[in-house]
Each structure stands twice: as structure tokens, then as C-alpha cells.
């Protein structure tokens, strides 16, 4: 009986010691704990130049030009845009990658209201030459920007930039500084400023749908 009691005492002491040792070892080297980090993004909008209605950034200026005769061999008068910062931005902050389409139309012919004659620049064709400005755009911007977009027909929409499904997220900036205005040789020009406006529209529908 004594042997049994002694054995139980030893066993109890052994277990207790082992337990205390293990507990001490846990305190010295604790298990790594896990914490969570989280961020949520809410859907934004699809806008042109952050919703601005007056796009001065996209102003096209074909300069101040002398009225002079064409050189021999010229087919028409060509005037280059001198606003080197001319650009248009589409911000797709929806986060859905649903794609979009940016259209532009010329609202009227170039007009000089102060002129007494030749008030309209008849036959003048505005051609937009767009290039994706990767420096100004969001990293990895992948919208498609078109060149040689001729706005010959007034009030007719033309696609300058578009993004297929899965593309065009963030800011996509189209540099249009390389645009030019072509005026037929037969068009009479009056002194002064001829101007028009362009209306830009972004649609939440990809161009290929």
C-alpha cells in the first residue's frame, strides 16, 4: 500500500513539474498571434475631367494666322493646334471595369460673328489626333485612344477614346495637342476669331458592345 501511495505521489510530482516546465516554456516563447487589416472601396463615378462642365484643359487653339495666299502645290490650308497642354481625361472610378466610351462632336461650324462677310469658315475640318498620355494617366492606363478623328460633320458623335470591358480603370488622359484644322483653299477668311465648341460625352457602354 505504501508503495502504491509513493508511486502515486511520484507520478503526481512528475506531472506537476512537467506542466510547470511547459508553462514556463510557453511564456518564454509565445505563439505568434494573428491580427487582421482591412480596407473597403466604395464605388465612384464615371466622369470627364472630374465632372467639370467647362473643359478649358481641352481647349484647342489654332493660333493667330496671316491671311495669305497658299503656296504652290498646297491642297488646303492646315493649321496646327498650339495649345500643347490640350488633353481630355476620363476618370472611371466605378471599380467595376465595365468599360466606357468617350465621344466628341463639333456643335457648329467655325464662326466669326464679328465679321461683316465670310462669317463661317466653310468646309473647315477639325481633326483630333489623340495619344494616351501615360505620364498623366493612372499607372497601367489601358484605354484605346484614336488618331485622325475627323469632325467634318457637325453635330455628329465620334469616338476619341474607349475602354473595353476590364479596361480603362482610373484616369485615362488623351493628349489632343496634335490636332489640326484644315481649311479648303477656296474658303474665304475674314479677319478675326473663328470659334466653335466641342461637346464631349462619356457613356458607360464599351465601344464594341
Amino acid at each position: 500500500m505504501k508503495k502504491i501511495l509513493l508511486g502515486l505521489l511520484c507520478a503526481t510530482t512528475l506531472f506537476t513539474t512537467a506542466g510547470l516546465t511547459a508553462s514556463a516554456a510557453d511564456t518564454d516563447n509565445p505563439k505568434p498571434q494573428i491580427s487582421k487589416g482591412k480596407i473597403e472601396f466604395l464605388q465612384g463615378g464615371l466622369t470627364i475631367d472630374n465632372g467639370a462642365t467647362d473643359l478649358t484643359a481641352a481647349s484647342l487653339d489654332f493660333g493667330s494666322n496671316k491671311i495669305e495666299a497658299a503656296k504652290a502645290g498646297d491642297k488646303d490650308y492646315r493649321y496646327a493646334n498650339i495649345n500643347k497642354d490640350a488633353a481630355i481625361t476620363v476618370s472611371d472610378l466605378r471599380g467595376s471595369g465595365a468599360g466606357w466610351k468617350l465621344s466628341v462632336k463639333q456643335n457648329d461650324v467655325f464662326k466669326n460673328d464679328k465679321a461683316t462677310v465670310n462669317k463661317e469658315l466653310t468646309g473647315a475640318i477639325l481633326t483630333l489626333n489623340g495619344v494616351l498620355d501615360t505620364d498623366a494617366s493612372t499607372t497601367g492606363a489601358d484605354a484605346n485612344v484614336n488618331k485622325n478623328v475627323s469632325l467634318g460633320e457637325v453635330n455628329s458623335d465620334h469616338v476619341l477614346m474607349d475602354a473595353a470591358v476590364g479596361k480603362g480603370n482610373g484616369n485615362n488622359v488623351a493628349n489632343i495637342s496634335g490636332s489640326q484644322l484644315t481649311v479648303p483653299l477656296k474658303t474665304a477668311r475674314a479677319e478675326g476669331i473663328y470659334s466653335t465648341t466641342l461637346t464631349w460625352s462619356v457613356e458607360a457602354t464599351p465601344a464594341n458592345s
Binding site: 487653339d61 495669305e68 453635330n155 474665304a188 476669331i193 470659334s195 464631349w200 462619356v202
Partner: protein
């Protein structure tokens, strides 16, 4: 009377569906930008418009200012839409849909009320 009600409900549903669906496909954002060119010198006459014939008598002008028009120079044209009677912006579409929906709802409620009152008067 029943047919008439079914037709009204059907047309209302179609109209509401049309009003609500259209903004999805229409432009969500529009904006205008100016474009301008300036000419200096003597205005050309229409009678001698043959480029390269050296028929122009151009007088030198002293202007050197930028041709970009100021806001007063640029005549902002009225928004010319293909369908002038339709709302042109997303917000206008939603407002129209809301007003249209409320209007149709009022019509339906009025119809129900009239029917109820008629039935009630017949019972008396």
C-alpha cells in the same frame, strides 16, 4: 373597364421600364470645350478665292495676341440633341422617370378611386 385598366398598367410599366433603362445606355457625363482660330490681315473677298494665284492683297496686321477666345468671345451654343424632347443628362432622366412614375401612380390611384366610388354608389 377592366381591359382599360390592364392597358394603362401595361403602358405604365413599359414607360417606366423605358425611362429607367435609357440612362444606363445614355451619356453619364458631358462637357464642352472651345476651339478657335484667329486670322490677321485683310478679309478675303469671295470673288478671288483661288489659293496660289497670288490674288490676295494682304495688309499686315499688328495683332500678336493669342487667338484663344475669351468666354465672351465664345458663343456657347445651346445643347443640340438629336432628340430634343428627351432629357439629355443622367440626372434629368432620373428626375423625369421619378415625375413620370409619380404621375402614372396618381392616375392609377385615381382610376381605382373612381371605380370604388362608382361601385359604392351603385350599392346604395
Amino acid at each position: 373597364m377592366k381591359y382599360w385598366r390592364v392597358i394603362v398598367i401595361g403602358i405604365s410599366a413599359l414607360l417606366l421600364w423605358g425611362w429607367l433603362l435609357t440612362p444606363i445606355a445614355s451619356a453619364v457625363s458631358t462637357a464642352d470645350s472651345p476651339a478657335a482660330i484667329q486670322f490677321e490681315g485683310k478679309t478675303e473677298s469671295s470673288s478671288n478665292q483661288h489659293g496660289g494665284d497670288n490674288q490676295f492683297h494682304v495688309t499686315e496686321a499688328s495683332k500678336a495676341s493669342s487667338s484663344m477666345p475669351t468666354k465672351s468671345d465664345v458663343k456657347q451654343p445651346e445643347r443640340q440633341a438629336t432628340w430634343g424632347w428627351l432629357p439629355q443628362t443622367n440626372e434629368q432622366w432620373w428626375l423625369s422617370a421619378f415625375i413620370g412614375g409619380i404621375g402614372l401612380l396618381m392616375i392609377l390611384i385615381s382610376c381605382q378611386l373612381i371605380t370604388y366610388l362608382k361601385k359604392r354608389s351603385l350599392l346604395r
